[in-house]
């Protein structure tokens, strides 16, 4: 994967559109999922995904291998989405329960009971303030380090740390409120 990415990136930087197309195929699900959860509306998310890749194509000659390609790409996606949200002042719509599901990822030690649990978690995420939602998504779904988040979001690592803790606390509390579970 790493080698393939590296070779594709090298060719795409040199102007090979076919290689860039392969990079798009490899990363579109991840970019779309991130943008979709960040900004809500699926049509907007598709437009923003396309816009992200067009920007990435343009900026690719400036990419340096000292950053992970996905980190760089998601940073473009994030800024594209934030700019669009600012333009539209649009509050995200929660994901519907019947949205398309694909790869559920590795088998975890704890299983969410069913698609309703997943939809509930998506809805709780969608209710988070944008600044908290993005750090939680970048950390949990994209595996960003605090340093990578600080760099991508142009905030300090201390802010990342506290914002992430607030986001987690808010989701846990909202979940308790939903299930009626006690906090003690």
């Amino acid at each position: 994967m790493q080698t393939t990415d590296g070779e594709l990136i090298r060719r795409a930087r040199a102007g090979d559109r076919q290689a860039f197309g392969e990079l798009v195929q490899l990363h579109q699900g991840r970019v779309f999922s991130f943008v979709r959860r960040l900004c809500g509306n699926p049509d907007n998310a598709l437009d923003l995904t396309q816009e992200t890749f067009i920007k990435a194509w343009q900026a690719l000659p400036g990419w340096r291998p000292d950053a992970r390609f996905t980190t760089w790409l998601l940073r473009i996606a994030r800024n594209t989405a934030i700019d669009a949200l600012r333009r539209a002042r649009h509050e995200p719509d929660p994901l519907p329960e019947d949205y398309l599901l694909t790869d559920p990822g590795p088998t975890p030690s704890r299983q969410l009971q069913n698609s309703r649990d997943i939809a509930q978690l998506e809805a709780l995420l969608a209710r988070l303030p944008l600044a908290q939602r993005e750090v939680l998504l970048l950390r949990e779904l994209e595996g960003f380090s605090y340093q990578e988040m600080a760099s991508a979001l142009d905030i300090s690592e201390g802010t990342v740390k506290s914002r992430l803790a607030r986001a987690r606390t808010a989701v846990l509390q909202a979940r308790r409120d939903t299930t009626g579970e006690s906090d003690d």
């Binding site: 860039f20 995904t49 760099s151 803790a165």
Partner: protein
């Protein structure tokens, strides 16, 4: 027993983002404090649940996207103006240029620090991240 670490410390401990001294102190506290164990377990379960969120289908039209990719020319072409372009194409190019300009100047900072040390994260499934196995086996307390 040491003072309870706050939720920010526990959250950063879960992410392995504390200094080694703070990691050790927080771990030691966790092993002996049922209250913090429960908070930590909730944080960890949330993290595990989030790892199960699926990747969403984009429905991206790849051939169309590739056709839309602009020519990549490092030399600015602004002076050539809009005369050679039809009205619609000119407007589209201008908008695209604005987007790209924004991306290049504000969004894409290529002077990122090195993250080579984090490459291990790429090869490890998120659900498998557990640097302190003893804390992975904290038992769910009865409710």
């Amino acid at each position: 027993m040491t003072e309870h670490p706050d939720i920010t410390q526990l959250s950063a401990h879960l992410d392995n983002e504390l200094s080694s001294a703070d990691m050790a102190q927080t771990s030691s506290h966790l092993l002996s404090c049922p209250i913090c164990q429960r908070q930590y377990r909730d944080l960890r379960e949330l993290s595990q649940d989030m790892h199960q969120l699926p990747m969403l289908e984009s429905g991206l039209d790849l051939p169309m996207l590739l056709r839309q990719l602009p020519e990549r020319q490092p030399v600015a072409r602004r002076q050539r103006g809009r005369r050679a372009l039809s009205g619609t194409a000119a407007a589209a190019s201008l908008l695209l240029g604005l987007f790209i300009g924004t991306a290049l100047h504000s969004s894409v900072d290529i002077r990122e620090p090195s993250f080579a040390a984090l490459a291990i994260l790429d090869n490890t499934p998120p659900g498998a991240l557990c640097r302190q196995p003893e804390l992975c086996y904290l038992q769910r307390s009865p409710r």
